[in-house]
């Protein structure tokens, strides 16, 4: 490296204040997962009992990984590196580091491609509540309902239809055939890139300094409203009463550790990037803990006491136990119909979700910007423009393949899997390459609250083991299903059978058969599940469903091919980033590190 031409290190940008960096990192962590995913996970995994594995995961998994990332980021920053590939290259020169660097560069950029669409959904709902659009929809839907349950069904049905239409769930390309969603996504893009163009201090830090308090104020307003509802203890009981037997279920422990992992934004390069802008003696221990505790405040107190209790109170157990998307975009709007001042609170709620989403999406852009600047010396304007084009292409794909949120779902799955892989390698690099003892010593540099010695053992043994278990369990549970969804033949067969089952059910409907009898008839006509249905052998009356079955088969096979396309796109992008990272590290990043070392050696000698 010594024979390469020297390079003047660019002027280093630093955070203006500790509070600024705490709010920026907390902003990156606080997102839809805190307000929507956490309550859904908790209520479906033991209610209050969920908090036991959740807190243990926070202490054993969340905090140590966050400390490792903060420390490695600050170490990389001392070499003038702000991007994951540069930071990894500064710390470890072997092949795994290159892959981890490229992976942690890829994950936030790819997540941004669908996250900006979620952001636009939140803004769309905020506008809809603000202008009273939902009130009109609800008035029409409940015009002829006779009792409370019918009203609930009508409202939930109306919000479900609204969500399906506005998110383009019905068919691919629906969002490009009119409507305001495309403009809202464009608006969100402009907001994000305008802020990111301003830089770390003037853009991200300034925005987060007002957005995070605004978000918290909005959430507290909603919380006060919720806690002053009559009979709210009924809803709180549904959310928090513990089901202790669930603690014997390993899936509950997996859900809790997964929630902590994904909630704290660890493992995918955001913290590495943000902490690299710290000064070399800035406190990483307390800053990291502050950002994590702010995230927990939003998740446990605000997320845990708002959505599920009110959903149960107004709509019942079914609506309160929905999946994240349904809870957020079908159940919550329905709640607002029953809540006094629902239009106002609905607008405030989705406004806060929008702010939470923006503070998160900003953090997804900065690592790639930093890589282009550090790795190739691209000016900010050009790097912002290039990243804008890349993410716009990806977001357009996510928006186009919107049926059943297909592209979004598959992108999210592969990114989640890579996050766990990347986090595992980062912790292993920290614990075994840098050395846990040495790493903790570096962690404690400038720390107001010092990390106990036991953390070194935890980082070396417990946390990576925990991560490997999560990775194994996550892959075992989810990977086969997602791989099967990428098989056009298999998906076609499943869809074809489903179409015939529908036709058989409709045929026997007048006879009002018991489900078991009906299942027996389906088995007799179509054969066992998993076997190919041979249309020519079917009974005559069922042949009328041939066209529908063939159409279903074709559509399902096409969707499987889209899922393959998403996977291949991510793989190609990853390989491209590995190559680019390698080129950058061998050239500009390598020279920058050499210069930083020389400067540092001079400083040490001078002192």
């Amino acid at each position: 490296m010594s024979d390469t031409p020297e390079l003047a290190l660019p002027k280093k940008e630093n955070w203006n204040s500790k509070l600024g960096v705490v709010l920026a990192v907390a902003g990156s962590a606080v997102g839809l997962g805190n307000f929507l995913r956490f309550p859904g996970q908790a209520v479906n995994n033991g209610g209050g009992a969920f908090m036991i594995p959740y807190i243990i995961s926070f202490l054993v998994l969340g905090i140590p990984i966050a400390w490792c990332e903060w420390t490695m980021g600050r170490m990389g920053g001392r070499y003038g590196q702000n991007s994951a590939p540069g930071i990894m290259y500064a710390l470890y020169r072997r092949t795994p580091a290159k892959f981890v660097g490229a992976m942690t560069l890829l994950i936030p950029v790819v997540i941004y491609m669908y996250y900006v669409v979620l952001e636009a959904w939140c803004l769309d709902y905020c506008i809809e509540f603000f202008k009273g659009g939902f009130a009109e929809t609800f008035a029409k839907a409940t015009a002829e309902t006779a009792n409370h349950q019918a009203e609930v069904d009508a409202i939930v049905g109306a919000t479900g239809t609204h969500f399906g239409e506005h998110a383009g769930m019905g068919e691919h390309g629906a969002l490009f055939s009119g409507g305001r969603m495309i403009w809202l996504v464009l608006f969100c893009f402009l907001v994000n890139f305008f802020i990111i163009y301003q830089g770390v201090t003037r853009g991200i830090e300034t925005f987060c300094k007002w957005a995070m308090p605004a978000l918290l104020i909005c959430a507290v307003i909603i919380l006060v409203r919720v806690l002053t509802l009559p009979d709210i203890t009924v809803g709180l009981g549904f959310m928090w009463n513990p089901q202790w037997d669930k603690l014997y279920d390993p899936q509950v422990w997996l859900a809790a550790s997964g929630q902590i992992f994904f909630s704290l934004s660890v493992g995918f390069g955001l913290i590495l990037c943000y902490s690299s802008y710290l000064r070399s003696n800035d406190d990483v221990v307390l800053t990291s803990l502050s950002a994590s505790s702010t995230n927990e405040f939003c998740e446990v107190i605000l997320g845990g006491m708002i959505v599920v209790p009110t959903a149960f109170l107004f709509l019942g157990a079914g609506a309160a136990s929905e999946s994240t998307f349904n809870l957020g975009f079908t159940t919550i709007p329905a709640i607002m119909h029953f809540m006094p001042g629902g239009n106002f609170f609905g607008a405030v709620w989705f406004g806060l979700l929008f702010l939470a989403a923006v503070t998160s999406s900003l953090s997804m852009l900065q690592p790639a910007i930093a890589f282009m600047e550090d790795g190739f010396g691209v000016k900010r304007r050009a790097s912002v423009a290039m990243l804008g084009v890349i993410t716009a292409i990806g977001a357009a794909g996510v928006m186009y393949f919107s049926k059943g949120a297909l592209a979004m779902d598959h992108t999210d799955f592969w990114c989640n899997l890579m996050m766990i892989v990347a986090a595992t390698f980062q912790v292993l690099i920290f614990g075994w390459v840098i050395g846990a003892e040495k790493g903790v010593k570096e962690m404690n540099r400038g720390a107001d609250v010092r990390v106990p010695r036991g953390v070194a053992i935890m980082i070396r043994f417990v946390t990576p083991t925990f991560l490997i278990v999560i990775l194994g369990a996550w892959s075992y549970n989810k990977l086969p299903g997602y791989l099967e969804q990428m098989n056009p033949e298999k998906q076609g067969e499943v869809a074809e059978r489903a179409a015939y089952v529908e036709a058989i059910t409709a045929h026997f409907e007048p006879e009002n058969l018991a489900q078991e009898v009906l299942d027996g008839k389906i088995l007799g006509i179509l054969g066992p599940e998993g076997e190919t249905v041979i249309a020519t052998t079917l009974v005559e009356w069922l042949r009328e469903a041939d066209d529908a079955a063939a159409e279903a088969r074709k559509e399902a096979a096409a969707d499987a091919n889209i899922a393959r396309l998403v996977f291949l796109g991510i793989i190609v992008f990853f390989i491209l980033l590995v190559v680019l990272s390698d080129i950058a590290c061998r050239n500009r990043i390598g020279r920058m590190i050499a210069v930083a070392e020389k400067e540092g050696a001079g400083l040490e000698a001078g002192s």
Partner: protein, 67 residues
């Protein structure tokens, strides 16, 4: 609202309210998170920002780039 509770009870929703264990877990979780967040914020706001600028220095680590 009582009507809603009655409907839920009929539907098998068992709207029994918070149990003692539920209250303890909820209050404990809130206190833990509030305590941690307050402690951190008080320390962060009370700390003076480091006046020195950024400087580069070598780290005593083995990057494994030499055999």
């Amino acid at each position: 609202m009582n009507h809603v509770v009655a409907v839920l009870a009929q539907a098998g929703g068992e709207p029994g309210g918070l149990t003692v264990a539920g209250t303890v877990i909820m209050a404990g979780s809130i206190l833990m998170v509030l305590g941690l967040a307050s402690f951190c914020m008080v320390r962060i706001l009370g700390e003076k920002d480091q006046p020195e600028g950024h400087h580069h220095s070598p780290l005593d680590i083995d990057r494994r780039d030499t055999e």
